[in-house]
Symmetry: C2
Subunit: 151 residues, 2 copies
DNA sequence: GTGCATGCAAACGCTTTGCAACATG
DNA sequence: CATGTTGCAAAGCGTTTGCATGCAC
C-alpha cells in the first residue's frame, strides 16, 4: 500500500510517555491512541488504527512501545485463547477486568473480598506466594440490550 | 535420562478414549500419558515424553488428540503468558486451578462463594451471561519447603 | 472395503530480533 | 554529537492444515 505522506495527526499527548524513555513522535502517538480506546486492543489493531489515522509508525515500534508500557505498569495486558496479547491503559493498582465479549469494553474491578478469598484458598492448601489472575467475560448493558440486537 | 520409574509403555486401555472417536494406539497412548501426569503439560512436552518412552507418535496427533480431549471436556486447557497451551486431565465440573509455579502440580478448586461473587460483580455492572476464568499461582508445600526439596 | 486417523512438511499468525539509518537530548 | 529509537526484513515459536498413506471397524 502507498503509505506515502506523513499527514501526521496532531498528536497532543497530554502527558508524556512517562516511562523513562525518549519522547518520540511514534511513542506519543501509540500512547495517545491507547488512551483513546476504552477496550483491549492488540498491537496489530492499534497499528492499523494509527496508520489509518495517518500516523506513520512501524508495527515493530508499536509492539515495543506496548511492551514497555506493560512492563512499566502503565498498561494492562491479557493473553487470549489464541495467544494474541491485548493491551489497555489502566491504573497501576491490582485489579481485574470485566470485559464485554462483544465490543471489548472493559470495567476494572477491585474487590478485597476476592483478594481475601484467594489468600484463604492458598493457605488452605499450604501454597505460598500466591498470585491470582481473574477475568470476567460477558455482555455489557449495551450489547445485551434486546432492542439493539438481531430479532 | 531414562526417568522411567513406572515406564508404562503398556498402555492399559482401561477406559477407552471416551470421545466418540476411533480408538487407536496413538490416542490411547496420549490419554494414558496425560493421566499419569498430575501437572499441566504442553503438547510438545507430552510428545517428547511419549517419544522418550518409546511410543511412536506424531506431534500433530498429540496436538489433535489434546484438542479433542479439551473440546470434549475431558481435559482442561490453559494458555500461559507466551501463548503456549497447557493441558491436564480433570473432572468435567466447573472449577479453577491452584498451580505451583515451580513444579506445576495442580489442585482443583471449587468454591460457590467465588461463583456468587462473580455473579454479584457482573450484575452490579449490568453485564449478562458472564463467565469467568481464574488461576492461582504459587509455591506448593513441597517446593516452598527448603528441607524437603524435590526436583 | 470404507472412512476416519496419522504424520510429514509446509503454511500460519503473532511476536521478536538483527542491523543500518535516523532523530532526540 | 552520542545514544537511544526506528523499521524493514527475516527469523522464531507454538500451532494448524494439506494430502497421501495406513489402520480401525
Amino acid at each position: 500500500m502507498p503509505a506515502s505522506s506523513r499527514a501526521a495527526s496532531q498528536v497532543d499527548a497530554g502527558e508524556a510517555v512517562a516511562i523513562g524513555q525518549r519522547s518520540t513522535r511514534q511513542r506519543r502517538a501509540v500512547v495517545s491512541a491507547l488512551d483513546d480506546i476504552e477496550a483491549f486492543v492488540s498491537a496489530q489493531q492499534l497499528h492499523q488504527r494509527l496508520v489509518a489515522d495517518g500516523t506513520s509508525v512501524g508495527l515493530t515500534t508499536v509492539y515495543r512501545t506496548l511492551q514497555a508500557l506493560a512492563d512499566a505498569g502503565e498498561a494492562d495486558s491479557i493473553v487470549q485463547e489464541d495467544g494474541e496479547v491485548l493491551y489497555r491503559r489502566c491504573s497501576g493498582d491490582h485489579h481485574h477486568h470485566l470485559v464485554c465479549r462483544d465490543c471489548g469494553v472493559t470495567i476494572e474491578v477491585q474487590d478485597s473480598d476476592l483478594e481475601a478469598w484467594a489468600r484463604r484458598i492458598a493457605r488452605r492448601h499450604g501454597y505460598r506466594d500466591v498470585t491470582h489472575s481473574l477475568e470476567l467475560r460477558g455482555l455489557c448493558p449495551e450489547c445485551a440490550t434486546p432492542s439493539r440486537r438481531r430479532s
